[in-house]
């Protein structure tokens, strides 16, 4: 979203009303984005409150006012992730959407049941980058910032996660075949 640059500059200089107005302008985006990460209303509101808190304290250091929105949403996503981590929860996703994005080759027959089972089998250092990268379309750099891990580690984890997910999906599919 494009913001009034004067309002952003006022917020950078500590004007709380201007800052509040900027966040109100983004209120729907903030809410639905938070909801897509944390999966329920109460946690989404908690994440928004924490975002407003941290963003207000840090806005004085924002160098490029034109990137206010990007900067704000990074804080929001970080807060969502922090909240999920504290509660030891996986980032929610919609299976069909993630399946599409994973660009699976072997296929149609692998349904969401297999995907969620396979994802659940991955440990969290593989699970989270997969969901952030394929489902939430975050860049490797953003994932690295949110997870507080070097870019190289994120890349490695993503590669390993893909490999592991592939073998888990195949295994799960075969098991399912045998049972039925």
């Amino acid at each position: 979203m494009k913001h009034d640059l004067h309002a952003v500059k006022r917020a950078i200089h500590g004007d709380a009303d201007a800052f509040e107005e900027l966040l109100f302008n983004e209120e729907k985006m903030l809410y639905y984005k938070a909801l897509s990460y944390v999966g329920n209303k109460e946690d989404a509101l908690d994440a928004i409150q924490e975002t407003a808190y941290n963003a207000f304290l840090a806005v004085g250091q924002l160098r490029n006012p034109e990137y206010f929105s990007t900067w704000l949403f990074r804080i929001l996503i970080r807060e969502c992730y922090r909240l999920l981590k504290v509660r030891d929860q996986m980032i929610p996703y919609e299976e069909s959407e993630l399946l599409k994005k994973l660009d699976h080759k072997q296929d149609e027959e692998i349904d969401s049941f297999h995907l969620s089972e396979a994802l659940a089998r991955l440990n969290s250092s593989y699970q989270t980058p997969i969901i952030l990268f394929y489902y939430h379309d975050l860049s490797i750099e953003d994932i690295s910032e949110i997870l507080e891990k070097p870019v190289g580690t994120v890349k490695t984890n993503l590669r390993r996660a893909r490999k592991k997910l592939k073998s888990e999906l195949e295994r799960s599919y075969q098991l399912h075949e045998k049972v039925t």
């Binding site: 800052f19 209120e27 809410y31 999966g39 908690d46 928004i48 407003a52 207000f56 304290l57 969401s112």
Partner: protein, 357 residues
């Protein structure tokens, strides 16, 4: 697996805005620390009068408390309306006439859920009903002296009020917080509320509040001087939720602990000789060159339309215990030595006020 969210549900704009405001209030509080700032260099003292179950944190209660408030807190059966279940006539009336604002917002920190149930903003107080539920048993005075608050995001320069809890079970309680209305409060503003727990937890709420409109004000300007203290009753306000008497006092005295302006109460009876029950309240004093001035408002239960005249007799309450805290311009707090029992009584004259409701 269930879908992760339901995007077509109605957008909870009020709650999102409240979360944003709470975050900003919380951040501003951090930025503005130390929490108690002074707007001017005058010495000020803050007294608070607390109710029975009440709590003494930075504000230490005096000997006087309202029996009405104490008994109301002991009889609340369970959450529904904390005000409606209270036996304070003013709060019951407010609830009955729809003058309270229902909030129902819950914030949970460290397994302790605090629900801001309802708010009443009348000519006397902002009164808040809270419901508190925790995983574990909370000890006494877990929430100290109750809530701090902000007016449109700013901390007030001084405030008085009371906070009382009523224990429902080992892990649940209700609480009534009152904030005495003062000149700093606009008719309509964003009220920020901050509650601190013993283990460093903090709960934040932020909500718009608006003073009830049906308040009948009667200018009085009755002044009398007795024993070196000039007392001026400036105004009487009447509403569905109560009666209040606004007064100012000025006394030749340099020791806050011996000054009497903050200990003034009023005996109020109607034309038929029925006493109107008074409620507890605080007073904020200010020290001039060689005088101490107090400005406050005393509160009473509401009166019905058959009441046409009030006879008011001011008197001084001599405290038996209690004390105060002096806060200087740097926010430094000094506990004052208790000298209340050396306070000298004053004989005031009664006066009558006609009220046409």
């Amino acid at each position: 697996m269930k879908k992760s969210h339901e995007p077509f549900k109605e957008f909870p704009q009020d709650q999102v805005r409240s979360a944003i405001r709470s975050g900003i209030v919380q951040a501003k509080e951090q930025v503005d620390a130390p929490r108690l700032r002074k707007k001017n260099g005058k010495r000020k003292i803050i007294y608070a009068l607390c109710s029975a179950a009440a709590v003494f944190g930075i504000l230490i209660g005096s000997s006087y408390y309202s029996p009405a408030l104490a008994s109301s807190l002991s009889q609340i059966p369970f959450i529904g309306s904390i005000f409606g279940n209270s036996d304070l006539i003013g709060l019951q009336q407010a609830q009955k006439h729809g003058l309270t604002k229902e909030i129902g917002e819950t914030q949970t920190v460290n397994g302790i859920s605090v629900t801001l149930n309802e708010i009443l903003y009348d000519q006397n107080n902002i009164t808040l009903g809270l419901f508190i539920e925790s995983d574990k048993e909370l000890g006494d005075f877990y929430f100290g002296a109750g809530m701090d608050f902000t007016i449109n995001g700013d901390l007030p320069s001084g405030s008085t009020g009371s906070y009382g809890e009523h224990i429902l079970s080992a892990t649940t309680m209700t609480a009534i917080q009152t904030i005495n209305v003062n000149e700093e409060m606009p008719e309509k503003f964003e009220l920020g509320l901050i509650l601190h727990g013993k283990n460093g937890e903090t709960w934040y709420f932020s909500t718009p509040v608006e003073k009830i409109t049906d308040i009948h004000k009667i200018p009085v300007q009755h002044s009398q001087t007795a024993d070196g203290l000039t007392l001026t009753v400036t105004e009487i306000s009447l509403s569905e939720t109560g009666v209040s008497i606004a007064y100012e006092s000025s006394e030749e005295e340099t020791d806050f602990e011996l000054s009497r302006g903050g200990n003034i109460e009023f005996l109020v009876v109607d034309q038929n000789g029925n006493e109107i029950t008074g409620l507890s309240g605080g007073a904020t004093g200010e020290m001039g060159k060689d005088r101490i001035m107090f400005k406050s408002s005393k509160q009473f239960d509401p009166v019905d339309s058959t009441v046409t005249e009030l006879t008011i007799t001011p008197y001084v309450v001599i405290p038996t215990e209690g004390g105060g805290v002096e806060i200087d311009e740097n926010g430094k707090e000094t506990k004052l030595e208790f000298k209340g029992d050396s306070i000298q009584p004053i004989e005031f004259e009664s006066f009558k006020v006609n009220i046409q409701q």
